[in-house]
Amino acid sequence: MTTKSMSNLNQNHNYPGKLIIAEGIDGSGKTTQMILLQKWLLAQGRRVFFTEWNSSPLVKKATKEGKKTDTLTPTTFSLLHATDFADRLNYQIVPPLKAGMIVIADRYAYTAFGRDTVRGVHPLWVRMLYQFAIKPDGAFYFKVPIEVSLERLLSVRMQLKYYEAGMDLRLSKDVVESFRLFQSRILQEYDRIVEEFGLKVIDGTKTIQEQQNEVREITSQLLEKKNGRL
């Protein structure tokens, strides 16, 4: 088994629409950037569909229950997110792409490659699990140091979320320290993923506007080209 041959993430799709995705740790600013991108595309009269990680109604109850009862394991955590992803692929991603729309995904399969690997599942297994995913036309990675993301998260809300901080891994009893340890490991995984799948790195420490200009520039290149990709 090799990672490359297993994944459709290296194979172009043939739908008329375009799929743009954003990756980055919590607090990297990717959601802000994608919302601004959506605004701009809509203002140009394009049809855009926005989809978020872990948002399908199919597994919502199960995920909530598993988190509440603390019975999720690295494997079931990974599988529930893959089920969510498969459901959204089926109902939210592929249909708009077939209809020629632009789909923006806030997090994609790469999120699982990073997080689930850090939680302990085999890196090959999680790549194989997402074999059914389609390759994005444009993939952005918003790269920020831990301290920047922490500062952003703590300034908008007082508390870090349990799973966001990787508290389930028992790395530290202190939530901030656990976040630092967990997210640093994810950053390392992202560096590997960027190389493996050719994500476009955006410096997340720049101003929101600077980053957005870069994102728009790249996106318009992508949209101009027929069948073009980043």
Partner: protein, 253 residues
């Protein structure tokens, strides 16, 4: 004589395995019973449980879609017919993983005999018929433990039909209606279950199932299962009281 002991044989995974589990600690035995609907799996498991307990073994049962995590989600989703082959597969995988890690592995660690009513092979068969890539399914279930014994209660299509119609009515999923939207329930059932039986025959070869003729009487099937368990999983000589006492004394030292 007191009874038999279980033979010691190391456990294996089908593939990449589970994180955080030491296989050497899993001293119990995993016995699985496969077979289509109406073949009498649960009756056999009840009888087997009774017998094993009399032999002095602690027994735990587990079965498909009984997980605390997604058992209900699967039920609801089936009701609403929202599933496609992919989400169907992944939910079943999640159900299995939850039971494996939270029920089966702890029980095996505690030395239980675990009786599984259906195992991953059911998913292999059902998804193959739904055109899901069989290699992907095998890789996906690479975290599953290889059972110590796999029994397959085999029946032919006509027997199966009679039993299903005798006991209840054909239901949507059992008839594979999601696959054959144009057909009436009987025709769909026939097509689907025939395909499943064919897949199980293939799997029986691939994974060395112990095939038992499911048309035999309940007690004959049960006897065959017990014989196979004694042959394969029990120590050759029954344990005597003397040995138990000596072992006890050894422990106290």
């Amino acid at each position: 004589m007191v009874g038999y002991n279980l033979v010691e044989r190391p456990k294996k995974y089908f593939g990449l395995g589970l994180p955080n589990v030491d296989l050497n600690q899993l001293k119990g035995k995993l016995i699985t019973i496969e077979g289509t609907d109406g073949v009498g799996r649960s009756t056999q498991i009840q009888l087997l449980k009774e017998w094993l307990e009399i032999q002095g073994f602690a027994v735990m049962e587990t079965g498909w879609t009984r997980s605390k995590l997604v058992g209900k989600t699967i039920g609801d989703a089936k009701e609403g017919h929202w599933l496609n082959p992919l989400t169907y597969t992944l939910l079943y995988t999640t159900d299995f993983a939850d039971r494996l890690e939270n029920e089966i592995v702890p029980a095996l660690r505690a030395g239980y005999v675990v009786l599984a009513d259906r195992y991953i092979f059911t998913v292999f068969a059902r998804t193959k018929v739904r055109n899901v890539d069989p290699q992907w399914i095998r890789d996906l279930f690479g975290f599953a433990l290889v059972p110590d014994l796999v029994f397959y209660l085999k029946i032919d299509f006509n027997t199966l039909t009679r039993r299903v119609l005798d006991s209840n009515r054909m239901d949507y999923w059992e008839a594979g209606m999601d696959l054959n939207p144009g057909l009436d329930i009987y025709d769909s059932f026939k097509k689907y279950q025939t395909q499943l039986l064919r897949e199980f025959d293939q799997l029986a070869k691939e994974f060395n199932f112990l095939v038992i003729d499911g048309r035999k009487s309940i007690s004959r099937i049960q006897n065959e299962i017990r014989t196979r368990i004694i042959e394969n999983l029990f120590t050759k000589e029954p344990v005597t009281w003397t040995e138990v006492v000596l072992h006890e004394l050894e422990e106290r030292k």
